[in-house]
């Protein structure tokens, strides 16, 4: 290091080529050291990503291209059958393929339920977040605490609680029958509606927290300014509050939609056997159906769908910004 500065400081013409060579080598050594340090610093993150992310994914990817073992597990024989099975049914005797939309339907229903849950969570979550963000700073933390309180118990327990509310002898039906609004219990549980409600309930904090984070930063003088400039309350919401809260809304939607799409416990308990979602289907393949490759393939297809949806969103959002 000291040599470098010396070389730079002495512009003697005779020594110049030699000094330049030394300078070049010193710089190269410095760059090597920098690279090594960077790699060392990155190592924990890389190890984590590798062990927790890439390794299991690779296992799933490999399994999806193998044949199913008779008692679960896999036979180490290459096969693309799992992906074919997703869309087509193979005739038992003739080896011909016929189109089978059963799995697509499950995917479709999951997609709709996840979208519905996202929308529902947004509908409930945005006003909640707005309410919290407009409280005096001292009491906001209490409200946030209350929002996150259900997370202290297991999702399974919370879903059982949901069952207690929705079932035929549940809180809602009993109460309504007592009051005399209905004479027979309504069918609430084991429906798509129950699953939707369960999903909204389970993932609501994921919607509230990012929107709150965005709204908390909102300068309420902007609201006053818009109100002053002839905007009605609704237009203040549309033209000022929503655009400012948009990053939070997008984050919240992604955080609800993705786990909602792959939800397992909620549809299992609240949907009964009738309302199957992707999560349950994949579980079945690894469990009762003993078709690990097909389960793996389904999981990967689910992941692909989510990624494609996100990519489309990112491109769309990026283009819109460039226009605006």
């Amino acid at each position: 290091m000291a040599a470098d500065t010396q070389a730079l400081a002495s512009p003697s013409p005779a020594g110049a080529p030699r000094e330049t060579e030394r300078l070049r080598r010193a710089k190269a050594a410095l760059a090597r050291e920098k690279r090594r340090n960077r790699l060392l610093l990155l190592a924990p993150a890389l190890v984590t990503i590798g062990c927790v992310g890439l390794l299991p994914l690779t296992v799933i990817l490999v399994y999806s291209f193998l044949e199913p073992g008779t008692y679960g597990g896999v036979n180490w024989v290459f096969s693309g059958e799992a992906y074919v099975q997703f869309l087509f049914e193979r005739d038992l005797f003739e080896e011909t393929l016929s189109f089978n939309p059963a799995y697509l339907e499950i995917f479709g229903r999951s997609l709709l339920l996840a979208l519905g849950a996202t929308f529902g969570a947004l509908l409930v979550g945005f006003p909640t977040a707005y309410f919290i963000a407009t409280r005096p700073p001292g009491t906001r933390n209490l409200w946030l605490f209350l929002i996150t309180l259900p997370f202290w118990t297991n999702l399974l327990i919370r879903t059982y609680a949901m069952m207690l509310i929705l079932r035929d002898e549940g809180v809602i039906n009993i109460a309504l029958m007592e009051v005399g609004v209905i004479s027979e219990p309504m069918i609430l549980i084991y429906t798509d509606g129950a699953v939707l409600l369960g999903l909204v309930y389970s993932y609501l904090p994921f919607m509230v927290l990012p929107i709150y984070a965005a709204l908390e930063k909102l300068d309420f003088r902007l609201v006053e300014a818009a109100y002053d400039l002839y905007a009605t309350r609704f237009r203040v919401l549309r033209h000022v509050i929503l655009p400012v809260a948009k990053p939070g809304i997008v984050a919240g939607c992604i955080l609800v939609f993705i786990p909602g799409l792959g939800a397992y416990i909620t549809p299992q308990l609240l949907g009964g056997g009738k309302s199957l979602m992707i999560g349950n289907m994949i579980w079945q393949q690894f469990g009762a159906s003993r078709n690990w490759p097909f389960g793996s393939a389904s999981a990967l297809i689910l992941m692909a769908i989510v990624m494609i949806a996100l990519l489309i969103y990112v491109r769309y959002a990026g283009r819109k910004r460039a226009h605006g």
Partner: protein, 379 residues
């Protein structure tokens, strides 16, 4: 329309006995405005001047509609504003920190009010272009507001508030975030905009110099009340109350004895026993002990023989255009000079090129007070 006050201008805004109490009834209730009344004329640059917490911003927010008065009424060109929300009042505000919409461009910010009013698109575009030219921001129409300097944001905020052509423009200390040079520039700019648009401006500031420079009329406020309303000259030359005199410029306050009253003037006897004619403020003043005020630049120094006041020079402060002589007055126990002079009686003499200090520290001098330069104060 109560034009009888001047007979020439109509009232843009009439504040009638308005009070505003925050947290009324509770232990911590705050009286922000106490029975305030003032009439602001059409096409006037009107300034609410006072220290922070005097209620000037509250009054502005009442006119804008962000707050509702606890008592009293506000009229805009003769029509009541009571119960109208801000978006239905033809009044726009320039906020202290500008409050520009961060997700919109400069042009979108300026066009926002027009868009909300549902004006046709070509009209909005035309007005925005005109506004951009008015505040000299044409080149930055497509910029996002967070890419602008403080002065530029200020201009956009002005253009945004002016674009819908409000009947009255409210300005809440809009220059306080700017540095001195920019502030001076914007003062002239604001005055120009008010002239060109013909819109009534109500300007809130705590800076007395700003108020004197820009206003057609000033209302000096303190503790939720308006103490005096008048042109800058009236306020500066003839402050009616001690607070006004102290707040605006530098002034000397002396105890005196009021002996006779003749209409708008009176005879006052100073500590030396000499009598002078002084101006009376509006409102009732009774004969007896009063305070009189006199500006440092309205007195001269001379021989102590026969002078209205005498004293010794304590300090000499040179400041370029003039020199301040701080005097220890004889026979006056509680003379209230400007705070900057440590309460000493101050005389300001104009400096001439090549001149030298005319007096020395410790010298005994007379203060020459002419008739009519003294102002009697209410309290």
């Amino acid at each position: 329309m109560t034009g009888q006050e001047t007979g020439e201008a109509t009232a843009a805004v009439e504040i009638r006995r308005v009070s505003k109490i925050f947290g009324a009834g509770s232990e911590r209730q705050v009286v922000a405005l106490d029975d305030v009344g003032v009439t602001i004329r059409d096409n006037e640059f009107f300034t609410l001047l006072g220290p922070s917490g005097c209620g000037k911003t509250t009054l502005l927010r009442l006119i804008a509609g962000f707050e509702q008065p606890t008592a009293g009424e506000i009229l805009l060109f003769g029509s009541h504003l009571e119960g109208l929300p801000p978006h239905r009042r033809p009044v726009n505000t320039v906020f202290q920190q500008y409050a520009l919409f961060p997700h919109m461009t400069v042009a979108e910010n300026i066009g926002f009010g027009l868009l909300m009013q549902g004006r046709p698109k070509p009209e909005i575009e035309e007005t925005v272009t005109r506004m951009l030219a008015l505040v000299r921001m044409e080149a930055l129409a497509g910029r996002r507001t967070d890419q602008l300097s403080g002065g530029q944001q200020q201009r956009v905020a002005l253009a945004r508030a002016l674009a819908p052509h409000p009947k009255v423009l409210l300005l809440d200390e809009p220059l306080s975030a700017l540095d001195l040079k920019l502030r001076k520039e914007m003062q002239i700019e604001l005055k120009r905009l008010q002239h060109e648009t013909g819109i009534t401006f109500i300007f809130v500031t705590h800076d007395q110099e700003e108020a004197l420079t820009m206003s057609d009329r000033i209302a000096v406020m303190s503790d939720g009340a308006i103490l005096q309303v008048g042109t800058p000259r009236q306020i500066y030359d003839h402050p009616a109350r001690r607070f006004v005199a102290d707040f605006i410029g530098e002034i000397n306050i002396l105890p005196a004895e009021l002996t006779e009253i003749h209409g708008e003037t009176a005879r006052v006897r100073l500590a030396s026993g000499q009598e002078r004619t002084a101006r009376l403020p509006e409102g009732s003043v009774e004969a007896g002990r009063v305070n009189v005020a006199i500006r440092p630049e309205h007195v001269r120094l001379g021989s102590p023989d026969g002078a209205a006041l005498t004293g010794r020079v304590r300090n000499i402060v040179y400041f370029g255009t003039g020199t301040h002589y701080h005097l220890e007055l004889e026979g006056v126990a509680d003379a209230g000079g400007p705070a900057a002079a440590g309460g000493a009686f101050t005389v300001e003499l104009q400096n001439r090129l090549g001149g030298a200090d005319e007096h020395a520290v410790g010298e005994r001098l007379g203060v020459l007070v002419e008739d009519g330069t003294l102002q009697v104060l209410c309290d």
